[in-house]
């Protein structure tokens, strides 16, 4: 446990400069965008006169050169002030935090699906590398991996919600349903089935591949041969020795994929009309609301860093070999 805490502390310290760079990047993009926060604010409330513009600029610290503006931006961030969203006429932080839970739910479920189904099928393939079963499953997985998630989503909508009427076609829950407790959870789950499939299936192939390749390699290693010599056979050997060891890189992949999943949710949330961070990002682009977009970017960066930290921690707890010496290969995503 102490080891884990030490690791955690080191990871937190390591994250600080990285996050500072992300903030700097966000600031540069904000500078490059046409118009500043005052323009955006005034456009939203229907314009203002020159004196009002000047006083707002001074008030928000936007009247100086780039350096004072950077200082103003960073100090606002430290106060958790992410700026004003012109598209929503509300503070950015409020808007993004409101959407975060839906995205985390979608991402979490999709990761769970990709991980469990991928590992399972990976074990099936890796138990007998090169077999017909292995080749057929691997090829199917790579074909799914080649599908654009949004296209898969459209096809699933046509099949399951429009033709078969089994599942709702969009949204996160039945609007203003008045449901609570278990009923509400069931309702949300029904709405999530198709988006989670569209997002998760695509990434499933990755875990399948990793698990399968890892197992294929492990079969030829000494400790496996030894176990086999001891008379261990078939499924038991595959599961107890080979699969277990092949799982570690899969865990690392979890951290690596969290950023990609967040990116993928932009399109999936748009297809399924889920009010999450991803759809917010594409709304921010189409309504040219740069502060809002950067709010989404910063929050996603925080999410990715946290996920990676958790993954590192899990890794340290699972694998006694991870000492306090190495930084961990999942660093930063």
């Amino acid at each position: 446990m102490r080891r884990a805490l030490a690791l955690l502390r080191r990871r937190v310290l390591g994250v600080v400069p990285v996050f500072a760079l992300v903030v700097l990047g966000a600031f540069l993009l904000l500078e490059a965008a046409p118009g500043d926060a005052v323009d955006a604010y005034l456009a939203g409330i229907g314009g203002g006169d020159a004196a009002q513009v000047a006083s707002l600029r001074a008030e928000w610290g936007l009247d100086g050169g780039p350096l004072p503006r950077l200082i103003a931006y960073v100090s606002a961030l430290l106060r958790l002030d992410l700026g004003w969203s012109s598209a929503f006429q509300r503070p950015v932080l409020e808007v993004v935090l409101e959407r975060l839970p839906n995205t985390l739910l979608l991402m979490g479920m999709a990761t769970l699906l990709a991980l469990s189904l991928g590992s399972l099928l990976g074990i099936v393939c890796g138990a007998r590398p090169g077999s017909l079963r292995d080749r057929a499953l691997s090829l199917t997985a790579i074909a799914i991996y080649a599908m654009p998630g949004f296209w898969l989503g459209l096809v699933l909508i046509v099949a399951f919600s429009v033709e078969l009427r089994w599942l709702p076609s969009g949204g996160i829950e039945t609007v203003a349903s008045g449901l609570s407790g278990l009923d509400r959870a069931t309702d949300i789950a029904r709405h999530l089935v198709l988006p989670v499939l569209s997002l998760g299936l695509v990434y499933m192939a990755l875990y399948l591949r990793l698990m399968r390749d890892g197992m294929a390699e492990l079969w030829s290693q000494d400790f496996v041969r030894a176990a086999r010599a001891r008379g261990m056979t078939g499924t038991r050997l595959a599961l107890r020795h080979v699969a277990r060891n092949a799982l570690l890189p899969v865990v690392t992949m979890l951290g690596l994929q969290s950023a990609a999943m967040l990116g993928g949710s932009v399109v999936i949330e748009s297809v399924f009309a889920i009010p999450g961070l991803g759809r917010l990002a594409s709304e921010a682009v189409s309504r040219r609301d740069t502060p809002l977009l950067l709010g989404v970017v910063l929050l996603s960066a925080v999410v990715v860093m946290l996920v990676n930290m958790l993954v590192d921690l899990a890794y340290a707890l699972l694998d006694p070999r991870v000492g306090s010496g190495t930084g961990g290969s999942g660093a930063g995503g």
Partner: protein
Amino acid sequence: MNVLRRMLATGEGLAGLAMLSVLVAVALAAPLLAPGDPLAIRGDPLLRPFQEIAHPLGTDRLGRDVLSALIHGARTSLLVAVSAAAAALFIGITVGTIAGFLGGWVDEVLMRVAEAFQTVPAFLLTLALISVTGPRATTIVLGIAIGAWMQPARITRAEILSLRERDFVAAARVVGMRPLEIAFREVLPNALTPVVSLAAVIVAAAVLIEAALSFLGFGDPNRVTWGSMIAEGRTVLRRAPWLSIIPGIGLVLTVLAVHLTGRGIGHALRARRVVA
């Protein structure tokens, strides 16, 4: 060409390369196969596929030929994806080489920057760049590249680090070559192999990112892309599902071809290394 032969020996590599060759040929010959503007209105709107010989894959909402849009879309998709991958590899290899060879604080800073880029989802990075500069083909290429250069940079750096202390590097130092000259002229060529097998992964990802961008409406409106075809077909998904399904199949086949080819190359290169 041992590598090529070994690659073709794997079923995957052969299939991938065959598909990819057809796609590239179609993309290159697009002006011959489907002359004229693919956005031109040529017939009745919403014709079904396989109904009229003049429009074998049917027509869209405005009566534009789906087949010629598909052919020209292949051109756009591949062009954007290959340029983006080339740009990503260029940035990645340059940064990786400098970081790996110079080491010290330069390495530290560059790798932190790479880590920062990896912390932000690539698709969001691309969106951010496009929202600031507007949807132009060059911006889209650059946007995809800045979301994809980090992995080649890391791999190049790792390779360079393992080669840095080899004899031929020391020899170059003795001859009096400057450090960066050594890095790019002596070390880099030896480090390239594993980076190149990454190219396929990046091209495949770039095809999908470009499609997703066009699908969301952030592509160049004067060009046909598969993503924009799917987006446009989406409003008539029930009435004319082929408008979304046909370009989708195009995307799946392209990405699949690139992946299979990449894996074929990977196998072949690994085999060569083992032999050497």
